[in-house]
Amino acid sequence: MSDVGAAIGISLALATVRKAVPLVFASTGGFFSERSGIINIGLEGMMLFGAFSGAIIAYFSHNAWLGVLGAAFVGGLIGCLHAFATIQLKANQIISGVAINMLGAGTTVFLSQVFIHGERSFSLAPQDRLPALGPFLPLTYIAFGLAIGATVFSYYTVGGLRLRAVGEHPRAADTQGVRVNRIRFLGVVTSGVCAGLGGAYLPFFSGSFAKNMTAGQGFIALAALIFGKWNPMGALAASLLFGFADALQETLQGRAHLPAQALQMVPYVVTMIALAGVIGRSIPPASIGKPYEREVTEAST
């Protein structure tokens, strides 16, 4: 292979990892929520909140790490909102998620205009951005560590066993003294924290916050979770695949004689093909989407 080919290959590999980072964060987040039985279609909105709060805090405080922490915190808050709506109020989980996405799209633009003199996007000065650690931003290592940690947690710890149990058969867990709704609440909040971190990666990576900059990555992360059969390592692999598709289209831009818009479709087309069931059936947690109530009248059985 020519040197040019090798160089393209290496840059493609690096770009794949970089593009995968927000997906790894968000799909791991989705894992915590969905395994506990709560659908989280609001990952997109949670990421957007994370992206904005990370960027705006770094912009004003000149401290990138404070921005990262802030993004995690705001993501967690939005997670609380989703948890409150779906667990306490037993709202429809899809609708609550859609509401969060709309809230994210509207609120971040509005606040950006408030804080940055009517601008819907703003750039971060180099000193306000995260320093690279080797070839990647530090968040990259955190993302991969998080996915590994989630795997260890879910299969080797007491909390993980209970998390999976309440998503499969909450009543069985309840009869053994497991607090179903508490675990679900924690799952959804954790989900928000992860998605917030995934969102924060975006402005630090690109150097600026832009209106609606997540561009569907929350949904792609959800697809990665499903494609990865609802476990963190599977979701990680799927995130890398989607990251590769994105990196590929960027590499091909200007090289291949195809319209830019057609190439930009690639990650989304890959997502659709994956979801259409290339890799067998992905079985969701049995009780996903169903609010849990302890007392049901016998008339309904």
């Binding site: 909390g159 149990a165 069985a172 009869t175 053994q176 302890r294 009248t297 008339a299």
Partner: protein, 517 residues
């Protein structure tokens, strides 16, 4: 502190100590009074049967004892300790375990994970599966229960799942064990095995509360029995002073006449025939394999088997909502393999589906509308565009009356009726369409004595009038009572077809378990 108190048993008048005392328990769900001022005492070390019709309040009462349902009023004592009923509690904290009718098992989890869930031995935040396994293996040895701890629950048979439930209860050191209709889904051999376990538990000092509506089981396993009817206690009897007839009267509130009517004459003419039916599904390549069956005029052909051995697939192929992968179906010697379900209905094939909520009725529609489902195109009931409301109403009123369904309200939403009455409405609809053949799957599942009897009588009458019935049921007693011939289904195959006179319960039980060919 709580468990220490249980040692100081309260003495009962006849000298036996009381393990559980429930006083004045009342529980309402909306306007329904599930439990009305119930008193129940269970002696230490006895098997106490709790019997009653569906909706009598047995399960609610036990859910209250286990802490899953909070009563509106009443007190519960374990020994001399009063449970914090109104604050909320959970049975295992007071030595009470419950084996629910619908097993509380997480299907993708291993047996071991299911047993320890909620009471996991831990090292820091990590599961300590080694010591968990040691403890469970020890329990299995002590109680003679065998099961592979590493298998996933979704791969287990129903009998094995029940053993997991028993181990769960023992793992938590429950002294009082509630079993909610534990025999409903078992083969006769599995029932024998369960009863052995029950005797062993009692010998080891446990107290058992055994919910059932099968009276022969009460006579075999119980020391005392309490009968509930419509949320109230009818009475408690020692097993020596009671017989099944008296219990049945206590349960139903009046005498039930014998079910078995006169024998009918069968013709040799085939009414409905399956030839080498095979069905391959993505999940199961042998969902049905070479099934050949023949229902004759005036005959009830019973198909027995443990649920999940292809009965639902057979039903769906027979009524036409699923196409077989190969094989042929004949009705009155005409091939109908390619006909849709609607065409088959019109030819005279009625059906009672196994899951009435999913397939038998449309919840949210009125009784009247449910009664004409599939009949809405008959000229007596519908014109070319509009339904004939008066005729439909008259039909509904007549059927409600004939089947004794209360309240006789054709305009009421069908979900306001009890399960038994909903099923009667399905049966009434199917029989009133003058079908020649009736395909009935689990027609009395979950129904009480009176509703069951009415449906059995209807099926028998249908056969006496020259019609045919293909009866699919997991209830062996029902199959034995009604069938002229009995086919045993196991893993998608018909293992054997026996004349009723030559079939014994033991033999059928072995076949159902796939033992003996």
């Amino acid at each position: 502190m709580v468990l220490e108190n249980i040692g100081q048993r309260q003495q009962h008048s006849d000298g036996r100590s009381v393990a559980i005392r429930m006083e004045g328990i009342t529980k309402r769900f909306g306007s329904l009074v599930a439990n009305h001022d119930i008193d129940l005492s269970v002696y230490q070390g006895e098997v106490h049967a709790l019997v009653g019709e569906n909706g009598a309040g047995k399960t609610t009462l036990m859910n209250i004892l286990y802490g899953m349902v909070r009563p509106d009023s009443g007190h519960i004592f374990v020994g001399t300790t009063e449970l914090p009923v109104h604050r909320g509690f959970l049975g295992p904290d007071y030595g009470i375990g419950m084996i629910h009718q619908h097993f509380m098992l997480v299907r993708p989890f291993s047996v071991l994970e299911n047993i320890i869930l909620g009471t996991e031995p831990r090292r820091g935040i990590f599961l300590d599966l080694v010591s968990a396994r040691r403890k469970v293996v020890d329990l299995m040895g002590r109680y003679g229960i065998e099961i592979d701890l590493d298998r996933r629950v979704e791969d287990l048979s129903v009998g094995e799942e029940q053993r997991v439930e028993i181990l769960k209860v023992l793992y938590r050191n429950a002294r009082i064990i509630i079993m909610d209709e534990p025999t409903a889904v078992l083969t006769p051999q599995e029932i024998d095995r369960l009863f052995e376990t029950v005797r062993m538990l009692v010998a080891a000092g446990h107290t058992l509360i055994f919910i059932t509506h099968k009276l022969e089981e009460v006579m075999e396993i119980a020391d005392r029995v309490t009968v509930l009817r419509q949320g109230r206690v009818v009475g408690t009897r020692s097993i020596q002073e009671v017989d099944p007839e008296e219990l049945a009267i206590m349960m139903v509130g009046r005498k039930i006449e014998a079910t078995r009517p006169v024998r009918r004459t069968r013709s040799a003419t085939s009414l409905f025939r399956l030839e080498n039916i095979c069905l391959r599904t993505p999940r199961n390549l042998d969902a049905l394999s070479s099934i050949s069956l023949d229902v004759r005029q005036g005959e009830i052909l019973g198909i027995c088997g443990v649920e999940g051995n292809g009965q639902d697939e057979l039903f769906e192929v027979a009524i036409g909502i699923r196409k077989p992968s190969s094989g042929k179906i004949f009705f009155q010697d005409e091939e109908i393999t390619g006909l849709s379900a609607a065409r088959r209905l019109r030819l005279g094939i009625g059906h009672i589906p196994p899951d009435r909520i999913r397939m038998g009725i449309v919840p949210g529609m009125t009784v009247k509308e449910n009664i004409i489902l599939g009949r809405h195109v008959e000229p007596e009931l519908a014109g070319s565009f509009f339904l004939k409301d008066r005729a439909i109403r008259n039909l509904a009123v007549k059927l409600l009356h004939d089947y004794g369904i209360v309240p006789p309200a054709p305009e009421a939403d069908i979900t306001t009726f009890s399960g038994g009455n909903q099923q009667k409405i399905v049966v009434a609809r199917e029989l009133s369409r003058k079908a020649r053949l009736l395909i009935a799957s689990q027609p009395t599942r979950g129904l009480d004595i009176m509703a069951t009897k009415l449906i059995h009588d209807s099926l028998l009458e249908h056969a006496e009038n020259g019609g045919g019935v293909l009866l699919i049921s997991a209830d062996l007693a029902e199959i034995m009572d009604l069938s002229d011939r009995i086919a045993v289904m196991y893993r998608g195959r018909i293992l054997r077809v026996l004349e009723r006179e030559h079939a014994s319960e033991e033999q059928l039980g072995l076949l159902m378990a796939g033992v003996a060919g």
